[in-house]
Symmetry: D2
Subunit: 383 residues, 4 copies
């Protein structure tokens, strides 16, 4: 969801407890409902792979999806850190999945039992002003923010998940795209692509810098080619990530340090880059990204920030630069699926480690120290 | 040039004293050259309408223009304040003019003696990378910044001015556009339009807020209609300016104060505006502008800033907003000339007071206290 | 729907009789269902205002709307001419309405009984590939073409109408927009705006020619200002329409004849127009429109054609022109509603004559000879 | 210049014999001027590699370039066929070159003697309305059409060439781009890219068809990747060209024949392609291209047509398609140079055969029967 999320907030919208879409289906009596396993949050630092009631249809626009592949996002770590107060005790975590439809609400027309589907991080009602603007990140119907799985409703690190507004939210997975490829299109690849490459307006011939080569920064690097970048400069402190950056399409790498700005400018003959993508979320990294861009260029902030950033507007105002930021919409998934299907984006390279549901704790441990473990993203399957 | 300019700087470019375009033509002997009157800067707080050598051709791409109409910009006040160190003792001030071509360099093909022309604030070589990108604000040939009149070379508050790169910089004035209209297309109208309306990506149906209704903010208001804004909300502390704002096309006005944000949001039913234009240049006004915008909207900063601005990125990152800023390019002048010619932009309304060259001091006095004097822009002619 | 429609066809899609959305609800027994009045097509030249079963909910995504205002479109005349074979005996005509919701399907969330709504010409499922591309004109779910009212399902010239996919198709009408304004946003205004102004890429300062000043051509003229056209040249053979064109925003008018091209070019100093909009639908009018455009300009065809057009590609290939065409999507309705609400588009001017349901025949008679009757569009109400 | 050019025409502009830029420098006496070799046109079917006066500076904005590499274009063949009446007896042919600056006019600032430069097919004054719109294909200063070399002034199939408006027309060649790469950026690659890929608005994930896989069609194929095409379908009758198409990036090939449309539609599951590029220039090939596109897609015509094309507007009007066409502007050269320099476009693959100046006749013979000779473009050097 968010490269290093802290405090996701809805925008000028009080997220009322009576929004029907967020209502947990009340089981008339647990004897009628089966049980499944899921990763449940129990307050800061507390999680357990435990029995919970099966996911079931609650609204006619819902489907239930059996999870075949899921993964962990940096945001899940932040939730466990207690940084996302909207996530409360008892919530099933996770907002990324590939799975199989097992139950379909009466009003659902586009999906049937047995369909292999991608469950994206963002839920889209399809009719509110923001969905009509192609900005489900701020879907008004689901509470002003489109990210609800593992946040405001139960998530995807489970045997099954209830998916609201299935017709407009789910994506069918083409036969020639594997689960191990599709899983990274649920959140990380669209985030790097939409909030980095698209918002940054990368255009043919451009030189792009990417500050931070974790999973999201690498996703940006992997998709700069969709808009014809001629050079891609990756900046990070970690050698493994810089190596991966080259593998993912970077033409140059710079080890982050005191001379980062000078080294990047040097690579561009002093001119600065056309697009500078920030994929970390700290004031220093945003200021570094801002220092790299040429007049008229764009600084695309993907990082999730926890504190204000003091922007040197006395120097920047005259540079004709643009600063963009935002939550992913996941509306680029159809495009990315086509690129994976035609072999032009090797999405599977994002998955460095595999685990089963039973190894959920190990998966979290490896991902928590991703850089040390030479990990990018983990692939988790029923096993 | 700049709504409340402080420290214009070239971008990563050492502005060498040997750039040929900046060389003052060396008069072989003053006996050969006539004298003209001009407003000369003599250090902070010091200026004089005095005799100087006539403007003459220095390069084959130059023309000389006799000034028929000029005006004063907020930037000229900042220069007099000592805020722009690049302006040194002896410099003729001013960067806006309408006049008549009196002399033409050998390589100039597009203009002839007698042509009525608009001299814009920005000089454009037409061949450097930035001019080819339509960004002469950062023309590399003239030193990395396109604003050179009354800054790096002698300016337009004079009887005549030398105009470098005339073929690509000057604009012919159509017969049905008066000098009193055209003069405001030299800088203030393009600034409000390009840095506010264009950078802010105003689109049909949009609601736009303009924070600061001075000459540049009003220029933005006057041109929001070119992109079909449905509602325009002007924000200022000054009643005269808010009245003018309505006259220039604002549908709503808000007196700036403690409740500005709440009042503007209220006018939009809590939704926020699509585009929020800042036309002042202080941290508070930029933060106010930022507080008004809906998710996915744009904050277009026109103001010239003197200090950093602490941006609440912890709240903003998730809003999918864009922040733009920059120096005017004046490349919208052909469009604006057409709109004035067809009667759709009443540019002459920007001129509230008229003076002759002999009244240059009075003109500065009135403009210095524009709000109190119910002044927007002054029109200065030979008399 | 179509300025002078002949043969609307779905695109590579066999429109199966078993598409659930097109199924007429089968009344279990007519005794259970009330009767209403409606204008029913009975083959070429045959229509009657007669009793039919009430409109009722058929799918959970439907609503029923009581018609408060409707109108007639040129397409309705073509249907009566027998030009649209997909329209069969028994079909209720009409595809434009403003009305009141009287019944709501179970899956509808965005509308309630009593809501005042605009029923647009195009139905939008909201989830197929074309709806996701914002092109419901080719909605795959409703058969490959989004125009179904009065064509593939019963229409709006009736006391009530069943509206499929209500959540994504209907628009709430703001309190300060009247029925007499909103009715023209169902089809004619969006057609002129989307297929003419938007497809033609009118931009600030542009000169636009509109060939044909009937209801759709005038709709284009009325909306050129949303994109800042500086000059608008209307071309027609009819003086009443040319007068209306000036009232709707044209700056120049040209009486169509042998010298049309020469006269329009003359108005542009020989340069040609930036955008040339065709709103008639004949080979000659398209060739005239094509002859008016400057190199790099756009010819936006709105007209519905019945025969091939021999395009002089041997002359045109080198002109860098673009030719666009298409069916309306009606996705600009939210924008147009805002412009009407803020008083910037006087949509009500399109209605020149008013009739009651009981006068349906007179309404058709007047509209059939619109030019002679100095009519643009008719407004039809229950009375 | 043109894939199969017939009759290039200026647009509403009488190309006067007194345009200074077209004046041949009058040698005061041939004794003062040296001689060089050049390929001279002597009427239909007649050409000779013969002695002519050296190229010399005529205007202060000229430079002289010694030719190091040139090539032949399909347009040159059309000229020899007598299809371009504007080319008269005595004209030196050719409009593509890489060379070395040997002489510089007084007003030229951007180039010096010894610079390695690309001489593009299009000459750009840089100041007329069309050059300011980035459309030098219609540069008004050089006569309304930017293609003048080997057409209205002497061309590049010579030992030297005079280049007007050098500052705005020439491009410096980066050190890591070879002559054998750069030569194809003078005309064919920009033509395929600008008139095919850019005009067609290829976007990430798109499926693109290219009808005609000669040098220009292959140039389009080679550059579809700059905008992220997921699939590229090449259509041609020639097996060698289809093989080359795959080598240049096509994912699928279709041998042109009676079932072309059906086969291409089949490859897209019946949906049609997003962008259909025509690179031949006949009615049938344009109609084939038009038959392949999905609703809302673009048909980008690159072909040069000699006769009208009967467009089935009765079927097309409702498809929301766009048809584009035009002469190359060569303004994409900076972008293409960056892509070649970074190794992302292997431009050198376009050159299949090499010749010396002395072998000019053989070069023409091979190129005249390109398909039979398995030739794409020829590379010609002094030897």
């Amino acid at each position: 969801m968010m490269p290093s999320a802290r405090r996701p907030r809805s925008h000028r919208s009080e997220f009322g407890p009576d929004s029907p879409i967020l209502k947990q289906p009340v089981a008339a009596g647990l004897t009628n409902v089966g049980l499944m396993k899921a990763l449940v949050y129990h307050g800061p630092g507390q999680k357990a792979w435990e029995d919970v009631p099966d996911a079931t249809i609650s609204e006619p626009t819902d489907v239930v999806v059996k999870i075949d592949t899921t993964t962990i996002c940096g945001t899940d770590l932040h939730i466990l850190h207690g940084d996302v107060p909207a996530v409360t005790d008892g919530r099933i975590l996770g907002h990324e999945a590939v799975g199989t439809v097992t139950e379909v609400g009466d009003a659902v027309k586009g999906f049937s039992v047995g369909d292999r589907v991608l469950v994206p991080a963002i839920t889209k009602c399809g009719r509110c002003e923001y969905c009509q603007r192609n900005m489900p990140s701020h879907c008004q119907t689901v509470g002003g923010i489109g990210w609800i799985f593992g946040h405001l409703i139960d998530g995807t690190q489970a045997e099954s998940v209830r998916v609201p507004y299935a017709d407009t939210s789910l994506y069918a997975v083409p036969a020639n795209v594997t689960n191990e490829q599709a899983i990274f299109l649920a959140d990380s690849l669209p985030t790097g692509y939409e909030v980095g490459v698209l918002a940054g307006k990368v255009r043919p011939g451009d030189t792009v810098a990417v500050v931070g080569a974790g999973a999201v920064g690498l996703s940006a690097i992997l998709t700069t080619g969709l808009w014809g970048a001629s050079r891609v400069i990756a900046v990070d402190t970690n050698k493994f990530r810089l190596d991966k950056a080259r593998e993912f399409g970077a033409t140059d790498t710079v080890e982050a340090g005191d001379n980062t700005t000078a080294e990047v400018l040097d690579l561009t003959g002093g001119a600065g880059v056309d697009v500078s993508i920030e994929a970390v979320g700290y004031p220093e990294t945003l200021l570094t990204a801002a220092s790299l861009v040429r007049p008229g260029g764009t600084i695309a902030n993907i990082g999730v920030h926890g504190v204000p950033v003091s922007l040197p507007m006395q120097d920047m105002w005259i540079q004709n630069v643009t600063l963009t930021m935002g939550l992913v919409d996941t509306v680029s998934i159809p495009t990315l699926l086509k690129m994976v299907a035609s072999g032009r984006i090797p999405a599977e390279k994002m998955g460095t480690h595999s685990f089963t549901f039973a190894q959920m704790d190990e998966a979290y441990d490896v991902f928590k120290n991703a850089a040390e473990n030479s990990a990018l993203k983990v692939v988790i399957t029923p096993g």
